[in-house]
Structure formats: C-alpha cells, structure tokens
C-alpha cells in the first residue's frame, strides 16, 4: 500500500493527514451504518441469526453438530482428493504436452536430409500435421469452459461404453483443461528463456530432447512456479464443479445438509470461509515463492529473464477457471 500511495500521492503534510483522519472516521461511520442497514437488518428481520439455523454448525451441544461436521469433513476430503489427483495428472500431462510441442517445433525445422526424398517429405508432413493437431487441441480446450468439459466427459464417456466413478469424470475433466493451461505456462516459460541457453546446450552436443529435459524445463519450472501454484488455487476452486455430475464434494454435501436443515445462508457462509482460508493461504504461498525467486535472481547476478506474457499469468492467477 505504501508503494501504491507513493505513486499517486505526495507524502501527506499535516493538513492532508488531518483530512485523511477525518474522512477515515466519516468513512468508517458510513460503512458501519451501511453494513447495519443493508446487511444486518435484513438478516435479522428474516431471523437468519437464530440458533435454529446456526446451531448445527457452531454449537457443539446441538444434536446435529457432529453429524453435520462429519459430512462436511467427508465432503472436504473428497474435494481435496479430487483436487490432488487433478493437479498431479495435469502437471504430468501438461509437462508432456509442453515438451511435445517444443519437440515438434524443433522437428519442424529439420529437413530430414539423411532419408530418401519421399521419406523425408513424409516425415516433414507428419510433423506439420502433428503440430497442427496439438495446436488445435490446445486452442479448443483452452477456449472451452471447464464446466462444459466436465459435463462432456461425464455425458460422453458412458455414451461410448466407458464408465467410471464420478470422481474420475471430474478428475479427467479438470485434467483436460488444466493440463492445457499448464502446458502453455511451461511452454511460454521455455520460450522466454534467453536463446543462449539452448544454443549452449546444442554446442556441448545435447540432442533437442536432452536440451529441453535438462536445460529448458527445469528453468521454466522455476520461473513459472508462482503461476503454477496459482493454478493450484484454480483447480481447488474448480473441484466445486463436481456438484453438476453429483460427485460428493463439499458443496454437494452442503446442498444435502440444506435439504435437511433448510439453512442455506449459514451453510454457504461456513463452506465459503473454508474455501477462502485454504485458497488465501495458497495465494500467499505463491506470493512468497515469487518474492523468494525474484530475490534469488537478483543476488545470483544472472540476467533478468523475460517475464511471462501477461495473458498467461493473468489466466494462471485464478481467472482461468471458475
């Protein structure tokens, strides 16, 4: 905040400080009054603060308390399982996809001179087709909503006679979307590296695959670590979409509880707080890692790498998914 104010305002003098103090007090007053009349009063009038509605969630002596929290715990465990599986598989698939796209780009430059003419044309055609296919896949799955991907997976797989538990539909749906995003994050990280890295690797005789695996990928992971952690937040938020295919995650459990106790506002406040707590700590972790990385880079005296394009980081900062 200090840095923020220093951009737009001068250091306040005594008069300015007085004005700020007075307007702070006025603003606090207006905000409290607004909160009272716009939030507290309507809630009070509808009896939303009654212990009948809050009791099962906050009062340990309530008859439903342990049952309700058992269910919420079960749902939260399911959410975490789905999120963990989804993030792991999207990391693996995303990395493979990024490496594949970089490799295809290298192959596209090769002329295959060692082979007979028809064979070399075939090889070149094949590379072009493959890289076009991966490109189209990336564009399509990045442009489709995750909800729709999950829905298509859950509706489409049984259509072709493949059926799993709902957990796997959710994981597959999330993986399709997030692996594509992660692949793009990693690819832009690799392409943002200074050219000298790949050139030096080629000069000491590494093959393109070795270059990617040993030189480019580790550095891309390092640069993109904050973006990748932010993607974790996205995945965790997106698991809440499991309710549309009736996977028993936190929100679905919440719906069941509401069906019995009829206290939607209270249940969603509690569930919302749980999500905020976990996601906020994850975002803070991402910020901390970014801070550490930028400090590390400065002390090492290495040239500053190209920053990742804003589209990707913005997408990775939690706007990409739901």
């Amino acid at each position: 905040m200090n840095q923020q104010s220093s951009v737009l305002y001068d250091v306040p003098g005594p008069r300015q400080r007085r004005i700020t103090l007075i307007s702070s007090i006025a603003a606090t007053f207006v905000l409290i009054a607004g909160a009272y009349f716009l939030v507290y009063r309507p809630l009070e009038e509808k009896g939303q603060f009654s212990m009948d509605l809050w009791g099962p969630l906050v009062d340990p002596s309530n008859e439903y308390f342990s049952q309700v929290w058992d269910r919420i715990g079960y749902g939260f465990k399911n959410t975490l399982i789905a999120a963990a599986l989804a993030i792991l598989s999207s990391l693996v698939v995303g990395t493979l996809l990024a490496v594949l796209r970089i490799q295809l780009k290298h192959l596209g430059r090769r002329r295959f001179t060692g082979l007979a003419a028809p064979m070399s044309y075939l090889a070149r055609g094949l590379t072009t087709v493959l890289s076009a296919i991966t490109r189209i896949c990336v564009e399509v799955f990045r442009g489709l909503p995750v909800v729709i991907t999950i829905f298509f997976v859950a509706r489409g797989f049984p259509e072709f006679g493949i059926s799993f538990e709902t957990l796997w539909y959710l994981v597959i749906g999330l993986t399709i979307y997030n692996s594509v995003v992660i692949a793009e994050i990693l690819r832009s990280g690799m392409e943002g590296l200074p050219n000298g890295q790949a050139e030096a690797a080629a000069a000491i005789g590494l093959s393109p695959l070795q270059t990617t695996r040993l030189i480019l990928l580790p550095q891309a992971f390092r640069i993109m670590l904050p973006a990748l952690i932010s993607q974790l937040v996205v995945v965790l938020k997106d698991t809440s979409l499991g309710f549309i295919i009736s996977y028993e995650e936190t929100l679905n459990i919440g719906k069941q509880i509401i069906g019995v106790l009829d206290n939607p506002i209270q249940v969603y406040i509690v569930i919302g707080l749980m999500f905020i707590l976990v996601n906020y700590s994850l975002s803070k972790l991402a910020q901390y890692v970014q801070h550490r990385l930028s400090r590390g880079r400065k002390t090492a005296g290495t040239p500053a790498q190209n920053p990742p394009p804003a589209t990707l980081t913005a997408q990775a900062e939690g706007t990409g998914g739901i």
Partner: protein, 235 residues
Amino acid sequence: MNVLIDKFDVFAGGFWLTLQICLLAAIGALILGAVVAVLRISPVPPLRAVGTGYVNIFRNLPLTVVMFFAAFGLPALGSNADFLRIPGLDLIFSRLGTDLPYFRFALIALVLYTAAFVCEALRSGVNAVPAGQAEAARSLGLTFGQNLRYVVLPQSWKASVVPLGSVIIAMIKNSALVGFFGVVGDLSQTADQLTSAEGHAFVPVAIGISIGYLIMTVPLGALLDHIEKRQAVAR
C-alpha cells in the same frame, strides 16, 4: 449430425442468451471492478480495507459458492433482485424483466465474482507505471486529477488492457455455469436438455455447443495475443 441442422434455432438461441449474459456481466463487472479498484488505491484506510477485503473474499471463493449464495441465499432473504429490471434495458435483454429471477441471480453472481478480478487487473496496471512518472508530473505542478488523466491512466491503461481481456474471456467461460443454476436456454443448459431430456446423439450436440463457446473465446484470445505482441514490440 442432423440435430445440428434441425435444432439450429435452439443452438442460436442458446448462443444469444449466453452472449446477453456475458455482455451485461462484462459491463457490470467493469463498473464495479473500477469502483473497487478506486477504493483499493484511495488514501483513506477504511475504504482501502473494504476494497482489499472484497478482492480477497471473491477471488478465493469458487464461483459455484457465489452462485449458490445468489440462487439460494437471496430468495431466503426474500429478494427477487427486482432492482435489475431496468426499464429500457429489459427490452433488449428480455430475460432481465421476467418473473423467474434466475437470470438476474446468475448475473449478480457473475458480476460480483468477476469484479474482483477486474479490480486486480486495473490495479496491476496502475502499479506498472513507474513511480518516477507520477513524481515528475507532481513536480511539474499537475494537480491530482491532471496527474491521473494525462500521466498515470494512459500508461496504466496500456498495461491493464491485456489482463482485462483475459478476465473477460474467463468470465465468458464462467458464464457456462449459469445453465446449472436455473437459467433456462443458455448454451450449457441447452447441452443438458438436448442430450438428456430429448435424447439426441451426444457428439453432434457437443460439437455445436463447443462451437458456440469457441466463437466467443478464440477470436478474443487471438486479439489479445496480437495486442500483447504489438505492445512487446513497442516497448
């Protein structure tokens, strides 16, 4: 593949409804996001706290929770979101005026959620302006308003247009969720309706729905890439 041709009007209707909600939500989110951004960079600490709190809450909640709040919490409070029945506007966007409130609920949820990201995009733009620029403007004797208008905002606008665009793309994708919260006839609900209730073949419907979304997201993404490349060259 017949369903694509036979039911073309259904797909087109779904596309139009999704486009409507996206347009309205984008306008709402840009306005609300700008207000929150002003709060976040204002010199008054309580207002700043409100802005920061808003962003932290809505950025960390899944949109699903916000939607549930809007769709189940508002009725529990006896609200039908009637303030959104804006005369004139509901002639173009007919769903705003209907008695079923779900379109309005979905709109509220989408606006509240997206505004947090819009605020962050705008703020990151202001942060990207080097401090020396505003300092130089102040030492030239420009007032606060002139400083913002001639020095800070033109530069911050450049830095925030790409993030803003990706926020809007994300919002278009997020709008697919409204079909599962009672809004009848948008693209995602159409997918559900055609495949489950009317029993059409899955693959053609999936293709039709996907095209509907890709028409909106892919060109916008390409445009952003273009702008970003041009800016990178200009710098």
